[in-house]
């Protein structure tokens, strides 16, 4: 019991320290190259966490979340353009609206897509993503088509340029983690995990599987849509293949698998490892897309060596070590990874 309390205290202290570092990062290292990496890393922490709420907790693997990312991005861009919102901090206030619009889209798509299971669901989500990409390309009057859509360019510059985006991404990642944490400890989360294990059995014990899956899908997509909105404002110019990019969707999935599917800290760890590595490769090897080779290698490595991801594997290792040593040998092991 004392050990458990100590471990919990250590965990809380670790979270506080990490959050303090994340808050202070632009002040500690203000150079644009570092803050740019920080913006993208924080973005992927948010994306992977959001994806994990659906894919990790329910076991429904969506490879089409890039569609929601692009939709959120386009929604914010169009809102700013049509409402005549000037550059500055005001566009950030419209990010929740982009999330809301994405939620409505996710509700409609999820209503149909979640009638399918397993591989069929994966295929339906991919199809939906390409459908959105085609729509963005062909609805020229609305989206600008292949010519793209411009966002207002912010008035700030220099070392400070990335900072507001970094904090916006940090806020969304924190929101995603808070939601994920709350879900994991709720009755709703219990139902989602039951669906992941065996949907028919979950139904038999009274879990309203359809409503739960749809809720998880919408929550996950809403977060992704909001992050997509901030991303659009950050890069100030988007076009269909750029924001409805299958690689964005695959990156979220890979980060979750690497860190630990269905865990809270796994997606964070996966994003912290993969995104800086990918950006480092991009900086050092130009636009050779060498990072794709790295992604493939990491994916193979994860599947072959760590099929459950880093966090669950580490938890298991620690538990085995604790079981072998010391007086806690008889204590029950923890199956749920943090």
């Amino acid at each position: 019991m004392r050990l458990l309390r100590q471990a919990n205290n250590l965990k809380v202290s670790g979270i506080v320290v990490l959050f303090a570092i994340a808050l202070a990062l632009p002040a500690i290292s203000p150079d644009p190259a570092t803050t740019n990496i920080a913006v993208f890393t924080m973005m992927y922490i948010g994306l992977a966490t959001a994806w994990n709420i659906m894919g990790g907790y329910t076991g429904y693997i969506s490879l089409g979340h890039a569609g929601f990312f692009g939709f959120g991005s386009y929604t914010l861009g169009l809102l700013l353009a049509h409402l005549g919102i000037k550059a500055g901090y005001t566009p950030f206030l419209f990010v929740p609206l982009a999330g809301l619009a994405t939620a409505v889209l996710a509700l409609a798509i999820g209503w149909f897509a979640l009638r399918t299971r397993a591989a069929t669901f994966v295929i339906v989500t991919i199809a939906f993503m390409f459908m959105l990409q085609l729509l963005a390309e062909n609805l020229v009057g609305l989206t600008g088509g292949g010519g793209g859509l411009s966002f207002p360019v912010p008035p700030w510059g220099g070392d400070y340029f990335n900072t507001p985006y970094y904090y916006a991404m940090l806020a969304l990642a924190t929101l995603g983690l808070a939601i994920s944490w709350r879900i994991r400890r709720s009755k709703f989360g219990l139902g989602l995990l039951a669906i992941r294990d065996d949907e028919d059995k979950a139904l038999a014990v009274g879990v309203p599987t359809r409503a739960f899956k749809l809720t998880a899908f919408v929550v996950s997509a809403t977060l992704v849509g909001m992050i997509g909105g901030v991303y659009g404002y950050y890069v100030t110019y988007i076009y269909p293949q750029f924001v409805v990019d299958p690689l964005i969707g695959i990156s979220m999935v890979l980060m979750v698998f690497l860190g630990g599917l269905g865990t809270i800290s796994g997606p964070v760890l996966g994003a912290l490892i993969l995104e800086p590595a990918q950006l480092w490769l991009a900086y050092n090897f130009g636009a050779s897309r060498l990072y794709l080779v790295m992604y493939a290698a990491v994916f193979l490595g994860v599947i072959l060596l760590l099929p459950r991801g880093i966090v669950p594997s580490l938890v298991e290792l620690v538990e085995r070590w604790r079981a072998r040593t010391g007086p806690s040998a008889s204590a029950p092991s923890k199956a749920v990874a943090p």
Binding site: L190, L193, A194, D197, S333
Partner: protein, 239 residues
């Protein structure tokens, strides 16, 4: 006063003719009724009829004087009839605690859930002892005990167990039967279908022998077990 659960003249089957051929069966409150019989006798079909998974083509099924005819499995569950299926029904990657908690998923009163959880932990210490472990890490017998614990989270009026000893080694089987007997001693009404007739009837307060969809013999469990004809037919030569 009528029986707790009463089936009268029940006929039911799966499309290729009726398996139950006018079955009459009654279960008294507080009893441990064990149904035994050869394969194809219709034992599991009785449970499916009571749980609402199979609609009888004729006859009546009454629980506490109320007809269960046409009721959905969910509605029957709501009346306090809970079944633990033959096959393993735990969620393997979820912890023991989560599995048991799922048993009361339809109960919205948190304090009631906590109270039942505490009671279940007292009855089945394994739930608290191995609460953080995934269900898949337990042995077959332990999993069955956790399944019982999960079923008790709904505080059932009638607990139905379909061949709980299936696939278990003798030592574990004895643990499972002792647990079933203890639940009955604690005042719970149980309806048990068991292939292992000797062990099932050995703990039953009431024994029922089925053959070709009908009750061939019934009486106190020990009496049925001691019946020479039943012994010769179903329990082997030593009976």
């Amino acid at each position: 006063m009528g029986a707790f659960l009463e089936l009268v003249g029940v006929r039911a089957g799966y499309g290729g003719g009726d398996i139950l051929q006018g079955l009459d069966l009654s279960v008294e409150e507080g009893s441990l009724t064990c149904i035994v019989g050869p394969n194809g006798a219709g034992k599991s079909t009785v449970l499916r009829v009571v749980s609402g998974l199979l609609r009888p083509t004729a006859g009546t099924v009454q629980f506490r004087g109320e007809s269960l005819a046409g009721r959905s499995p969910r509605a029957i569950l709501g009346r306090g009839i809970v079944q633990v299926p033959q096959e393993r029904s735990l969620f393997p990657t979820m912890t023991v605690w989560e599995n048991v908690r799922l048993g009361a998923f339809t109960v919205h009163d948190r304090s009631l859930v906590a109270k039942r959880m505490a009671a279940v932990c007292e009855t089945f210490p394994i739930v608290a002892e191995r609460r953080h472990e995934p269900a898949a890490s337990l042995s077959g017998g332990q999993q069955k005990i956790v399944e019982f614990a999960r079923a008790l989270m709904l505080d059932p009026s009638l607990l139905i167990l379909d061949e709980p000893s299936m696939g278990l080694d003798p030592k574990t089987r004895s643990l499972v039967f002792n647990t079933v007997r203890d639940m009955n001693k604690a005042g719970r009404t149980l309806l048990l279908v068991e292939q292992n007739a000797r062990s099932g009837l050995g703990i039953a307060t009431h024994g029922v022998v089925m053959e070709t969809g009908r009750v061939r013999l019934q009486g106190p469990g020990q009496e049925v077990l001691d019946n020479p004809e039943i012994g010769r037919l179903y329990l082997g030569a030593t009976a």
